[in-house]
């Protein structure tokens, strides 16, 4: 089994282990296919310009799923994501590709979080977190919250 986090290991203000992501045009194509979201806003320059966003933007739902991964990675196999929310507050733009496999230099996004509350509910050991995505300039484009159930050593 992978490394497991326990409820006793964390306290209020503990950091959620950060997760880095690079959005590329290629990743957006893969996400469109896997999620079934074929809105041209995410791959068509002409359509995106007409919608007032300039260029094709990263799917909000892909950013959501990065934040879900931030939490499922952190809570491990014995933890469970119970509640989750996020808002797509600002646009993010993918890096173009340089080669078939490699993106051009550019922005790296960071998914981050910190513990805001630690408590029990019945026999369940719960933790609330504030979570967010920062763009390459360190601006928060996608804030959210998460509640997880962790195993206890007790």
């Amino acid at each position: 089994m992978r490394k497991q986090l326990y409820w006793e290991d964390i306290e209020v203000n503990s950091e959620v282990t950060p997760l880095s992501k690079v959005a590329t045009t290629r990743m957006l194509v893969k996400w469109a296919g896997a999620s079934g979201d074929f809105n041209p806003l995410h791959y068509d320059e002409h359509f995106a310009a007409g919608q007032g966003v300039g260029h094709p933007i990263v799917h909000g739902a892909l950013k959501r799923q990065w934040l879900v991964q931030l939490m499922t990675d952190w809570v491990g196999d014995l933890g469970m994501l119970k509640r989750f929310s996020c808002q797509y507050r600002a646009m993010d733009y993918p890096r173009p590709m340089k080669t078939q496999a490699q993106a051009e230099e550019g922005e790296t996004w960071w998914c981050k979080g910190k513990v805001t509350r630690k408590y029990t509910e019945g026999d369940q050991h719960m933790v609330d977190c504030e979570i967010w995505i920062e763009n390459g300039k360190g601006e928060v484009t996608t804030p959210g919250t998460a509640t997880v159930i962790l195993p206890s050593r007790g």
Binding site: M1, G60, A61, L62, R64, Q69, T72, M80, F84, S85
Partner: protein
């Protein structure tokens, strides 16, 4: 003020659909995110875990409105296996000048894990439609809630999505 043609959707069931959670679809989904958690990938690892088999990442069933009548690429209504109303609030809003839309955000509550092979039933209702004045004119927010049940009739998840129309 929104016209009655729009507000009449509040509280309405927009659609019900049933779909199978395929193992290949789970892996493609996780790969597109760059999420290589072995619980979503590795049969042997997942078998030895407390889940006993591959599970879907929370949020796999994702964008609740994907198959609803007025989403980006709806299935051909003639041949659609999904039971939906004829047109949804987004199409009607577009007729009233709200022709651009963006995904605003998502809220989830998870109750049970979803395993490869599960058959989920999803029902989407419109919770609310509101407007406010933005910098470049009126913005309409459509909030819809999708409830997912598995083949045993157990509640799996609730997803509340907000669409921004301007």
């Amino acid at each position: 003020m929104l016209p009655e043609e729009v507000t009449r959707y509040i509280g309405k069931v927009l659609g019900v659909r049933v779909f199978e959670v395929e193992k290949g679809a789970i892996k493609k989904f996780a790969d597109s995110v760059g999420d290589y958690n072995p619980l979503f990938w590795d049969d042997e690892y997942a078998r030895d875990s407390r889940y006993g088999s591959i599970i879907a990442p929370p949020g796999f069933f994702g964008w609740p409105g994907r198959w609803l009548p007025d989403m980006t690429f709806p299935p051909n209504p003639e041949s659609s296996p999904f039971k939906t109303v004829e047109e949804g609030p987004r199409t009607v809003l577009a007729r009233h000048g709200f022709s651009r839309n963006l995904d605003g955000g998502m809220e989830y509550e998870f109750f049970l894990p979803v395993r490869a092979g599960d058959a989920l039933t999803a029902e989407t209702i419109v919770k609310d439609i509101t407007t406010r004045e933005g910098r470049t004119g009126n913005i309409a927010f459509v909030t819809s809630e999708t409830t997912y049940y598995n083949q045993n009739g157990d509640l799996v998840a609730k997803a509340t999505a907000t669409q921004i129309n301007r």
